[in-house]
Amino acid sequence: MEDSRVVPVTLTVNGKAIAREVEPRTLLVHFLRDDAGLTGTHVGCDTSQCGVCTVLLNGEAVKSCTVLAVQADGADVLTIEGMEEEILHPVQQGFWEKHGLQCGFCTPGAMLTASYLLSTHPHPSEQEIRESLDGLLCRCTGYETIVRSVQRAQEIMDERRESADRETRAI
């Protein structure tokens, strides 16, 4: 079909450049799951409501089912697979300690939403945490444990920052 000719896109996903030729109608979430093989990003509603497809696009939380891969051309994308470094990311650690997941289906989106919140509001109030979860549907937890997980993640971030400071001072 003449219209559906492919276009080249290059995205940096979790620090790695991925170049592909895609149909313009390829959604970012398709690109991540089918082209990059990163199936941690889930598709829940596919109608922009549930937020389980949330990833960070140039550091900002977006619903990847409502972004075209071509719109993300040249961008940096962080998915759940890229969160953990040498140790668990504070958000992952927080969810682990406070049981922020049950079935785990919404968890990739929940964690990226939480890490975006903490990157823009290092010390959010409970109200701010709840508001930031407005775009995430979780059918299991009732959100209580997610809220506690985000609060715990924030403490872990502070603890890690403090101990990093102590180490630099010690040198």
Binding site: M1, P24, R25, T26, V62, T66, L117, D134
Partner: protein, 284 residues
């Protein structure tokens, strides 16, 4: 869910956008944040042969001071509006409306221009921008025109914008110094869009309402100004009685949708009264 296939082009200046629209205006569409257009295309409610991406057009971005007001590029995202210091200072009403659109992820993508051009009768920003007396800057083939937002919305999802025109900027006059404002929204529990949204500002001098503007969204086929409520308030003491009387006039200022049982008129009265009450208490 895939949309039907389409051809994609990324524009670099406004002229290029207009040229591409002109080539086939009926089958070409601008994509800004894509947060109204893509969901429609995925459901195949909108079919488009060619999308023109305006995200790389520098002229359509940024917020700057303009003759005592603000000139806001059409491609300014809701999240930027909500936190921009110039917007919060000169037009806090706009920042507070932008802050309650959809959810955090939606605000990171959706744009002011997309919201206005899409003309969803339940969009939040039109109420704030009507109350702020905003003006639109629109580019078309070989022309640029300005239009008051008051005249822009014709019917649900229909505006005066021609198929080969681009909204380039929104000019927002600075709010009257000392004016107090609020955007009060009753979100639909499922969609998050307003069932009613009331944007209002009031400036009081010597105990009397010197000037005010009130606009409503979500409740009629197009957003509208509650001109009759404004008339009731202006020149009066900003009292509980004046607020109650102004609130009663809100519904009659525009056309409501599905109001056979009077529920929508009741909402207008209650929400205008609450919004003005918040302003009077300084909570706005």
């Amino acid at each position: 869910m895939y949309t039907a296939p389409f051809d994609y082009r990324r524009a670099h200046d406004t002229q290029e956008v207009v040229t591409w629209l002109q080539e086939d205006p009926d089958n070409t569409k601008i994509i800004a944040g894509g947060h109204s257009l893509l969901p429609l295309m995925k459901l195949r409610l909108a079919s488009v042969a060619r999308l023109v991406d305006i995200s790389q057009v520098a002229e359509l971005q940024g917020i700057r001071e303009d003759m005592g007001g603000l000139r806001i590029g059409a491609f300014t995202r809701h999240a930027q509006l909500a936190k921009d210091p110039a917007v919060r200072e000169a037009a806090p009403l706009l920042a507070s409306a932008a802050a309650v659109i959809g959810d955090m992820q939606v605000r990171n993508r959706g744009t002011i221009g997309g919201s206005l051009c899409h003309a969803d009768p339940a969009a939040d920003l039109p109420a704030a921008l009507l109350a702020l007396n905003a003006e639109l800057v629109i580019a078309g083939p070989g022309t640029e025109r300005r239009e008051s937002l008051d005249a822009f919305f014709l019917a649900p999802f229909i505006t005066t914008l021609a198929a080969d025109e681009v909204l380039t900027a929104i000019v927002v006059p600075r709010m009257v110094p000392g004016a107090k404002s609020t955007y009060l929204k009753r979100p639909h529990p499922a969609s998050g869009y307003p069932v009613i949204g009331v944007a209002a500002w009031v400036s009081v001098s010597g105990g009397r309402v010197e000037d005010c503007r009130i606009a409503l969204t979500g409740i009629g086929p197009v957003p509208f100004r509650a001109a009759r409520s404004e008339q009731v308030l202006t020149g009066r003491a900003f009292s509980r009685e004046a607020i109650a009387e102004a609130a009663r006039e809100a519904a009659g200022s525009g056309t409501l949708e599905d109001d056979e049982d009077g529920y929508k008129s009741q909402l207008c009265q209650v929400y205008v009264s609450r919004a003005l009450g918040d302003i009077a208490q300084g909570a706005g």
